[in-house]
Symmetry: C2
Subunit: 234 residues, 2 copies
DNA sequence: CTGCTTATACTCGTCTACGAGTACTTCACA
DNA sequence: TGTGAAGTACTCGTAGACGAGTATAAGCAG
């Protein structure tokens, strides 16, 4: 599970899928991707594109079938997918769909260090985030609804958008909940957190006041955390 | 917003935050991180660690204060955070918490190309994913609940875990919903999708049958998709 | 028909991520 | 007291990511 791919960039998967349809040259693959709106779910990096295509060829997943030069433009090499390429797509999709993988988000990292800002500022930032999320979700939801209702785009072509929207909505709800706890003061430890910043603990002195007695992270917790870590690392 | 950081790796943020507490040498920073369970939210890469520390120093966010050699072990350089480092932490946290950023997940990419597998296999894979998600969520939920109930770990130190759990639960629910549509046949276009694969369209022939008349992606949709793309690119 | 913008189709170079390797130390245990 | 496993603390090499740059062509406005 989650074995190392010869070509790891997810752009490669989508390119291979493109090539099922017909042979193309690199720039063409990227254009078609963009036309179909797939660049919503996959980041197209023009720099990566050619590296990825090259690696796909090196590993026998695609092969060049034609090199054309039109006028004085640079050469265009057209590629087609190989049997090995088809097999790779299936195997890869089975992994991506069937096995949940740990992924690290920027917001999660930020939350982990949120204690470095005073609580009222964190609350303000979360408020801002929530407003932006709500706005974005409403827009995306409306667009998606229009497309689905038009019944001209098979829903199969839209599920990745549906998924993304669902996740962003869930994030908004979570933030809304946390924010409520902040604003009505039910989030435990708000006082201590504030004190820590009032004392200038993180500003300049370089010292963080000790946590109050009894609030230290107990060894039992460390064990639990470590066990969880080990389990994930397997 | 979302400006380019001098040191972009998120590991750098957590290291800087660590150094608020006291000066440390690189290996020590990573160990402390692990002890505190922060390696749940941030991937610690031993290879990246030293590159990141070096870059932090190069950009003036940390400075070396001592080089010690104990016995015949390699030298240990101890670093402390600078004023610029403190400022960077604050600025970075404001960005991470306040501004939602588009992130690309492996599952989303997989969904986008799910059409390359026959529908019954996709259903089976989603079933498998859902089972794994449910199991994982139950375990993580139990661990978290224990920690929160113990009241010895400030909740502030756990919010990133709460967030992660909430997201995984939301994913599970979304998958459950989609799966239901598959299994009771209410997902539109299942028949066509199956036919496409029965015809061997994606297996060997290299040709994909044309979409039925009227199901083509209409230009209006393309416009909409493109507009959405543009808006995101801004 | 001239100049401007936009699209096409890459190439190049740098910077970074990251795994794998290294070499020494400490501790258990037989 | 020898051996092996686990921990400590890095170093190194290389593949890959990615931005910025380049050069041509097509469209069109005046």
């Amino acid at each position: 599970m989650a074995k190392r791919r010869k070509v790891g960039n997810l752009l490669a998967l989508t390119l291979l899928v493109q090539l099922h349809e017909r042979p193309m040259y690199p720039y063409e693959m990227a254009s078609v991707l963009r036309e179909r709106g797939k660049d919503q779910a996959i980041k197209i990096n023009w720099g990566s594109l050619y590296t990825v295509v090259q690696n796909l060829e090196k590993n026998g997943f695609i092969e060049a079938i034609e090199v054309v030069r039109e006028g004085r433009q640079p050469e265009r090499t057209t590629y087609r997918i190989t049997e090995a390429g088809r097999a790779e797509v299936k195997d890869w999709l089975r992994e991506l769909l069937g096995e949940p993988a740990r992924e690290y988000s920027r917001f999660e990292a930020g939350l982990g260090d949120a204690g470095s800002l005073p609580p009222d500022e964190v609350a303000a930032l979360l408020r801002q985030r929530l407003d932006l999320l709500d706005k974005e979700n409403e827009e995306n939801g409306a667009t998606l609804a229009t497309l689905v209702e038009s019944e001209q785009v098979p829903r199969l072509f839209l599920i990745e958008n549906e998924y993304y929207l669902a996740m962003r909505k869930a994030e908004a709800e979570w933030v809304r909940g946390l924010l409520a706890e902040f604003e009505n003061g039910t989030f435990p430890g708000l006082g201590f957190w504030q004190t820590l910043h009032d004392a200038g603990g993180l500003d300049g002195s370089g010292n963080v006041p000790e946590l109050p007695e009894g609030t230290q992270i107990p060894p039992a917790l460390l064990d639990a955390l470590e066990k969880r870590g080990e389990a994930e690392r397997k």
